[in-house]
Amino acid sequence: MKRSSNVRRARFRKSAPMVTTLAISVSMVLSGCAPAPKQEEAQIYRNAAECKQVYPDQPGLCDQVFGSAQVDHLATAPRFDGLAQCEADFGVGNCEAAPENTLAQNSGYGDGSVDGGQPQQASSGGGWFMPMMMGYMMGNMMGGRSAPRQAPVYSSSAPNSPIKDKLVTGKGDVVGNRGDRTVRAAPSAFQKASAPTRVTRSGGFGAMAAQKSQAAARSSTSTSRNTSRSFGG
């Protein structure tokens, strides 16, 4: 056979097939209501193996999401300039040395205040510490068209910490309690904890396309379509 065995996968379907009248009216009623701030259900897993127990048919996706969480953990976990400072917030035995090569890109972490009460960070130097990743929170596996959202989560056993026995994301959003398997989190809780990158400039690509489009729109002699044309070929 010279063709794909099957291209018809769920991800490629963009709307329900031939919605019935009833379904349309229901969805219109629903969309008429002002939506409450949306929270989504998320699962907490300590590792990929736990995910695979729940989704035995999706081992690859479980590995991928766990891998992403680990990468995000390394890149975005809160940084402390001493083990004692880290353990003061997260508890004895819950902190580890931060990898050297991730410091530069996280040098701005902590510029904003953090709900969980973690301290502000300095911006350079070695010998940094960060909490160990307790696990990760994963959004709906079947919901979207791309990979499910995830965020590393941490917990604290420090007696005086405001996040003691809570589940907290790298940027300090408390999403539940230690031991929860399912939590409800605002979409913003999945956002990366790294300090927002300062964008020094934007719009540096696209000028030639705009110029060609405008020139084409001016010349009305062409029978070809003259706006919104493809820049592919």
Binding site: M1, K2, R3, S4, S5, V7, R8, R9, R11, F12, R13, K14, S15, A16, P17, M18, G60, Q64, G67, S68, V71, A104, Q105, R145, S146, A147, K192, P196, T197, R198, V199, T200, R201, S202, G203, G204, F205, G206, A207, M208, A209, A210, Q211, K212, S213, A215, A216, S219, T221, S222, T223, S224, R225, T227, S228, R229, S230, F231, G232, G233
Partner: protein, 388 residues
């Protein structure tokens, strides 16, 4: 190779809606046209399209090797000198490519002739890889084509496999997808590729190319401020290398799809170089740089800008006279001349073959029809079958 007229499926528009194929009609003109289809034999597909496509692809890669070692060629390809190293490095590092589409003239009898290689920003992908496949499946079910009919269309499987391969080679980075904000068609193509990448387990993001920003470490960032570390861009290298952010490309260290060396393949200056290297090859048309026209023996020629998209600024020249031309905004970087060859005509329509490459392998085919001899952006996409 035959064309058959057929009644379109009654539900095709509903199906297009269901699968998000929003550009089947563009600018009040039909684009997806299933009132006809083309039928090929397996022999035609395998010997006349598939095999020559892979051979031509290898011949084109040889030109990249040649060009990155030749200032003369880099000038003829109008690559800005500041970016020669970028392109040479991307080639030497063997930066992986994703896909491309060759345009071929083929009439079912004579060897296919290579017109050009859309190797950087190929479109008509979704309709080739996906919607054409659905059409075949439905037509097999309703019995309007012979049982056992097939299609040269392993494109989607090949793309997903290719993305999976890239995923295994790359560190776990999200892959950004970018296109021009204003083009619905390009957005559709990019969405499709994004879906294929997600099927392969990659994490994906979309950003309009106009929304790219520069971060404080001179890295590229998307509108959310997230670093762009790997990016598929449906936006031509020849534009990117001439725009404000061009100076940051080297430092930004993005894994680009297509990689920068594709700017050699998608450039029509490759045609005279191929002809020079393989003069008389059955799948090549004679082609010349303007300063080599004294070696040209053909009286009928097509003048093409080395950078041109969707059939813009093409002239058909017969004995020195322009007999047909298309308007447009391209050509200032230089032109080449290619020997004229007739596109096969079916009824009032000229048919052009698109032959798809994923990685280094031929993966499928599409047919476009145009009333004009110059296939442009108002051409129509027509599905095909392989006869059982």
């Amino acid at each position: 190779m035959q064309r058959h007229l057929v009644t379109p499926r009654s539900h095709w528009q509903a199906q297009a809606k269901e699968y998000g194929f929003h550009f089947h009609t563009m600018y009040d003109e039909p684009y997806w046209d299933e009132s006809r289809y083309y039928a090929f034999t397996l022999d035609q597909i395998e010997n006349d399209i598939e095999a020559p496509t892979e051979e031509l692809h290898q011949m084109c890669l040889e030109v990249v090797e040649e060009a990155v070692n030749s200032e003369n060629l880099m000038r003829r390809f109008a690559i800005p000198e500041a970016h020669w190293d970028l392109i040479a490095a991307s080639w030497r590092m063997k930066e992986p490519s994703l896909y491309g589409r060759m345009d071929l003239v083929y009439d079912g009898k004579n060897p296919a002739k290579f017109l050009e290689y859309n190797a950087d920003t190929p479109t008509s992908l979704y309709e080739s890889a996906f919607f054409q496949w659905l059409w075949l499946e439905d037509r097999l079910k309703d019995g309007s084509i012979a049982p056992g009919s097939d299609q040269f269309n392993g494109i989607q499987e090949a793309l997903i496999n290719r993305f999976a391969q890239l995923k295994s080679q790359w560190p776990p980075l999200p892959l950004h997808f970018a296109s021009c904000e204003e083009s619905i068609e390009d957005r559709g193509t990019v969405q499709y590729l994004e879906d294929c990448a997600a099927e392969a387990g990659l994490e994906t993001r979309y950003s309009a190319i106009e929304h790219f920003g520069l971060g404080d470490n001179d890295q590229f960032v998307d509108a959310n401020g997230e670093d762009i570390r790997a990016c598929f861009k449906l936006y031509p290298w020849e534009f990117m290398l001439r725009e404000e952010f061009a100076q940051y490309i080297q430092k930004a260290q993005v894994r680009w799809l297509e990689p920068a060396w594709k700017s050699i393949l998608s450039n029509k200056a490759i045609l005279p170089v191929l002809w020079h290297n393989h003069k008389g090859h059955p799948n090549l048309l004679p082609a010349y740089f303007p300063d080599f026209m004294d070696t040209c023996t053909e009286s009928k020629l097509v003048k093409k800008p080395i950078y041109s998209r969707e059939g813009a600024n093409i002239e058909i020249i017969d004995n020195g006279k322009v007999v047909e031309s298309s308007g447009g905004e391209y050509g200032e970087e230089g032109v080449i001349y290619q020997g004229y060859t007739d596109l096969p005509k079916f009824g009032d329509d000229h048919a052009l073959i698109g032959s798809w490459i994923v990685g280094d392998s031929a993966a499928g085919m599409s047919v476009r029809e145009d009333h004009s001899r110059i296939t442009q952006d108002l051409s129509r996409f027509v599905p095909h079958i392989i006869l059982p």
